[in-house]
């Protein structure tokens, strides 16, 4: 891995992601962006709020990037998560990887987002018209 970008930000800018992941040794770049969806289980979401334990979140994101680079031959890895209030359609997370061949970047990209959702201390509160819900908190 020649470059690693791990960050918690207020706002995700998707326009530069492919430029950030581009390098001469890569033939493929795979990127996943998670955005705010209007409906969850049939209920209209007004907005989401993300909160994090930043010091630990950055450590965990760093581990995920390093683990991915051990599992696959990657050139550049990006993991960037937004915090604060997000409206419908806004990006909240972007993960991506570049590699010589496409197998590696596809598999790594999937690993990055799946693992982030399992281990990184970030919490999402869904705001509906009449209630707010901390996602996954209760069985």
């Amino acid at each position: 891995m020649s470059k690693k970008i791990v960050a918690i930000v207020d706002r995700i800018d998707t326009s530069q992601v492919f430029t950030e992941l581009s390098d001469a040794q890569s033939g493929g770049i795979c990127v996943f962006v998670g955005t705010v969806r209007e409906f969850t289980q049939g209920e209209e979401v007004v907005s989401l709020e993300f909160e994090t334990y930043q010091k630990m979140a950055l450590k965990e994101m760093d581990k995920i990037a390093l683990d991915a680079a051990k599992k696959w031959n990657l050139n550049i890895v990006i993991i960037r998560h937004a915090v604060g209030l997000k409206k419908v359609e806004e990006p909240v997370v972007v993960v991506g990887a570049s590699s010589a061949h496409r197998d590696a970047c596809f598999e790594a990209c999937r690993y990055l987002i799946d693992t982030l959702k399992e281990t990184v201390p970030i919490w999402k509160k869904e705001m509906f018209e009449n209630k707010t819900v901390w996602v996954s908190a209760h069985p």
């Binding site: 334990y53 997370v93 987002i113 959702k117 281990t119 201390p121 919490w123 509160k125 908190a137």
Partner: protein, 80 residues
Amino acid sequence: MDVLLFGIAKDIVGNSEIQITSKEKIPNSVQELKDYLIRKFPDFGKLSSFAVAVNSEYAQDDVPLNRNDEIAIIPPVSGG
């Protein structure tokens, strides 16, 4: 001993931190801290699960706690 709270843990306690003073029995391990929290705030027992981080790393139940550790309650994460 100070314990940082995030997400729903903050809502359960009504604060972003708990201070456990020496008037109480200070938890000596992650397991003891979890027991303490569930005893004092029964809503912790209703969560899907919750973890404890010691010095910003996930800690197993048998990890000992020291006064100078940075201790945090990690309710079920939901990033992404």
